[in-house]
Symmetry: C2
Subunit: 251 residues, 2 copies
């Protein structure tokens, strides 16, 4: 049975300050827990239903606590969780060296504040084979449970690094393409043969003047109807698809 | 001041049964309320903060009740609402005649259950100039406050009709393109000059055998990385963009 102290710790990891202090974060639900077990992340402990433990955790070499679904839902953030919660060690990695980054497209995010949007974008990057996301400090925190949840396991495969975009982007010596409302049509854009950086801005305000100033190109998703904007996750996917459409063969 | 009975009615409209009984639904927040006032929908009453009423409702000819933001948040579903809530009359329109539908691309949704996803898809349809969405009964309800919220006002411009897709699609005499995991690459697909129907399936299970059986074409978004899937809203946007990329000139 899980102790009161342990239960309290798990529950408190919903809070960023506590996460940072312990260097631990929560991974919840079947898909995410299985993905994290299958990744380079170090899983410290798992709370799971008996059914989940029997089916998936037989050969897993970490402490496992059994409880029912109701208790899991109390401990974590999911409305429905009949599988498991893992406590996982945070990793702090430096940004990969420039010569590494230049081998593939990079995604840069400025102030994407909504955790659901960030998680969705991590999943999109993973789908489109982009393994590095640079984001500035105003972006949602990677280890927020809502980010982890929305990433559907993709957080284990995509490296996310916080930095000052306006000063870091120029040092990469890669062509930068920012999504704005006044750029070249995405459908007309000629993407380069060598990889570049796709830069997406804040949900309401787009890119800041500081980041706009270091862009090489501005690109705009053409509109055919009357909606004022697209959600930033949706816009990221449409841009990534356009990039892979024309650059995938030269990848 | 707003009466107890009125407050109770507004609050109860979060419930589908009550919405259906009264034929009323809630529209919340600045953007959505302004859009609905500017649309063909009939707004019955508005609850608003004094600031919002002074700024936007001077010439609006419907009963207005003033209250503070805290009260608005109690009455409605938004965590933060310092603007307004409108009570709006539901509209039941029959599916437009086939010769009307055939003039533009149509979007069809099978069992898109998450209200946030449905709202996002309505906004995407509006962006890409698609004004008709057909969906089967298992799809989320248009008048769910989360659908209205996520549509960002686009629900006023896109017609959504519930029907049995498997029996209605063949009667349209339009080419149908279903998003599946085993179709032709979206990047290779040759879209027709005349408009067709894009068919998207359920978040977890995709399209049913019944709908698959009436499709003319299957199309797949190519994957370049390792994520298992894309969110259905994201996938809809990527497909719509591909369609408009090649068919916009002949529109």
């Amino acid at each position: 049975m899980i102790s009161q102290a342990k239960a309290k710790l798990i529950h408190s990891l919903q809070n960023k300050k506590i996460r940072t202090r312990h260097g631990l974060f929560l991974v919840e639900g079947t898909k995410n827990v299985l993905e994290v077990l299958n990744s380079e992340y170090v899983v410290m402990e798992i709370v799971a239903t008996e059914k989940f433990a029997e089916r998936y955790l037989q050969d897993v070499n970490v402490p496992i606590w059994i409880c029912d679904a109701e208790r899991l839902q109390d401990l974590g953030t999911l409305e429905v969780n009949d599988s498991a919660i893992a406590m996982v060690r945070m990793v702090e990695k430096p940004i990969p060296p420039t010569e590494e980054l230049r081998k593939n497209w990079v995604l840069a995010l400025e102030q994407v504040r909504d955790p659901g949007n960030l998680g969705t974008i991590i999943r999109i990057a993973d789908w489109y084979g982009i393994d590095t996301i640079l984001c500035n400090e105003g972006t949602a925190e990677l280890y927020n449970p809502k980010v982890i949840q929305a990433s559907m396991g993709s957080f284990t495969r995509v490296g996310l690094y916080y930095c000052d975009l306006a000063s870091v982007l120029p040092t990469l010596r890669m062509d930068t393409y920012g999504a704005t409302m006044d750029g070249i049509s995405l459908h007309q854009m000629e993407w380069p043969v060598v990889p570049g950086v796709l830069v997406m801005g804040n949900e309401s305000h787009g890119l800041s003047p500081e980041v706009l100033a270091v862009l090489d190109h501005r690109v705009t998703i053409p509109r055919f109807g009357r909606a004022e904007s697209l959600n930033v996750g949706v816009a990221t996917a449409v841009c990534c698809d356009a990039i892979r459409r024309t650059t995938s063969l030269s990848k």
